[in-house]
């Protein structure tokens, strides 16, 4: 069954998109993380430079490789470089 993944956007990623959350549709077979990131970059050109320097978190875990398949209900957080303190 097709559904959506939840994309959480913080700081400069949120500013680039104008929203703190997106829910792109995915096919039942899922979508590769690389493909999702490319799709977001095409849809939101201002997000592209932010994506290049951001860490990606899938379902609460940092992802080192983009060879991950996302399925409906999964959550991806886009973390631009941190600046706390």
């Amino acid at each position: 069954m097709a559904g959506t993944v939840r994309v959480l956007l913080f700081a400069s990623a949120r500013e680039a998109v104008g929203s703190s959350q997106l829910q792109p549709k995915v096919e039942p077979a899922g979508i590769g993380l690389t493909e999702l990131v490319e799709r977001l970059g095409l849809e939101f050109p201002r997000l592209r430079p932010v994506l290049r320097v951001s860490r990606l978190v899938v379902n609460g875990e940092y992802i080192g490789s983009k060879h991950v398949t996302l399925r409906a209900g999964d959550e991806v957080a886009i973390h631009p470089p941190y600046s706390g303190g």
Partner: protein, 147 residues
């Protein structure tokens, strides 16, 4: 008070110091990060807005706390970060370390704030007060404006 906090409420040095009370610890180091009135292209920072990926930030702060206790044999730790708007002079972060001797307390506090800045998903953005426009000088050719 708990060792790790991520809160919209103001942070108190006195509360942090009280949380570090331990009769076995002769050395207590407290670090506070405050909002500076930095200048950005002629404008000045009025306040900073902090946001966090809360579940991930709490996990990170807890890992830093546990790491510091193990690594530096700290007796007590404080790792508090504020979120939301903070005006100039307000405290955004307090890091505290209590240890039997001063060397571990200094090293532990330094290690924790460095790790927090690198690893904890917290972001700040500036809210600036625009520079005042300079008063216009009257044009010599046209004379003073009416009024």
């Amino acid at each position: 008070m708990e060792a790790v906090r991520l809160t919209r409420q103001s942070l108190s040095i006195a509360s942090a110091y009280a949380s570090l009370a331990d009769p076995e610890c002769g050395g207590v180091v407290l670090f506070a990060g405050r909002v500076r009135p930095d200048r950005l292209q002629g404008s000045s920072v009025e306040r900073l807005e902090y946001e966090a990926d809360r579940p991930m930030a709490l996990r990170s702060l807890n890992a830093i706390e546990q790491g510091a206790i193990r690594r530096f044999r700290l007796g007590r730790v404080v790792l508090w970060h504020r979120t939301g708007p903070i005006g100039v002079g307000g405290i955004s972060v307090i890091v505290g370390a209590a240890a039997p001797h001063r060397a571990q307390a200094f090293l532990g506090a330094r290690w924790m704030i460095d790790r927090l800045k690198q690893e904890t998903p917290i972001w700040k953005s500036e809210s600036v007060r625009p520079a005042r426009p300079r008063p216009r000088r009257p044009s010599r050719t046209r004379g003073r404006s009416a009024g």
